[in-house]
């Protein structure tokens, strides 16, 4: 699939998972795409933890449900009504969770390109996620990035050592379709802004 087509049809999938589980060969293609991401100083500070054990999916889903409720409770009433119908996860339905983790110590003390920007390594791990996401679209596989969790909970769930930071839970699985419009637009949560508002020439807001 063409890069622009993948970028345009990519969706954050929550409700469209078929319930089938992605086969290992396809999953490895997606992880290989992620692993080909650029990284600061070629440090490749990411890891991918694949989770399919029903008990672990259930534990994480229950934790996310709790965080969802806490977020709902934090909203003013009008926003809460808008939020209520929005599905925020697909942990069990996708059948596969991929936890992406970040290791700040990977590559030793002298990371080329991270001398002044400590977050540069973290950014590398995020780039890997977008590679995976676009490759997934090519395969008809949906990805939903769940961020309604406490990092400590997820770190313990996957038995991560103290220096390993989980940065994403990705629900990965076959989908019936990619929705034409993003969920958050369809449900009236927030619409995007035009590109022109995001582009500045020469200086910020110049």
């Amino acid at each position: 699939m063409d890069v622009y087509q993948a970028i345009a049809t990519r969706r954050d999938v929550r409700a469209e998972f078929t319930g089938q589980v992605v086969d290992d060969a396809t999953l490895m293609k997606l992880l290989q795409a992620a692993h080909r991401a650029p990284s600061v100083g070629n440090s490749q500070p990411w890891d991918f933890v694949v989770i399919r054990e029903p008990g672990m999916l259930d534990d994480f889903a229950a934790h996310v449900a709790l965080q969802r409720q806490r977020f709902a409770d934090s909203l003013p009433e009008g926003r809460r009504n808008t939020f209520d119908p929005i599905k925020i996860e697909g942990i069990r339905e996708s059948g596969t969770g991929v936890v992406v983790t970040y290791d700040h110590g990977r590559g030793g003390p002298h990371i080329l390109g991270r001398h002044t920007i400590s977050d540069a390594g973290l950014f590398s791990a995020v780039l890997a996620i977008q590679n995976l996401w676009l490759a997934a679209v090519t395969e008809g596989i949906g990805v939903g990035w769940v961020s309604f969790y406490e990092e400590q909970f997820l770190a313990e769930l996957i038995d991560a050592p103290a220096h390993i930071r989980p940065i994403a839970w990705l629900c990965v699985g076959p989908v019936r379709e990619f929705a034409e419009r993003p969920d958050l637009e369809r449900f009236g949560w927030r619409t995007g802004r035009p590109l022109e508002d995001a582009v500045h020439w020469g200086r910020y807001r110049a």
Copy 2:
């Protein structure tokens, strides 16, 4: 171009810029690709500042040269010798700098999906960079991510308000070719690890 082909041929370009300047129509295609990235709560917290003014390119290049020297000075001798021949920028040669910025306040106080993970918005802006990068490969345009700078310097260079964080300077321009092997491998700085080392099943290092 196919997604996998773009992912495989993408390089962090430093030395291969032709010296031609990317035309505006192509640049806008790349920025549109970036702008189609997923974002937490559809907050689209990114902005893109396009810099072509020679004086600004020179100022930034001089700042980066200084940081390069500081990094070299921080290295033990063996590593310094490995680092010396590696080109770390192409600020003037690319002819176009795209500074990607992050606005933590974009979208108001209730960002869906950022309730527990403060960095989730920052991650969104990074995803946009990978979209741009892959679209650029499709167009025969190179991207080099320069991270040898102090954020405060870059913020002042682009007149960013205090709440706007510059997260990347991307050198964007036509290239002669995409190198077969990444520079950091060719120059012996650091080679990648196999995918198998990055994939864990069920639990981290399980």
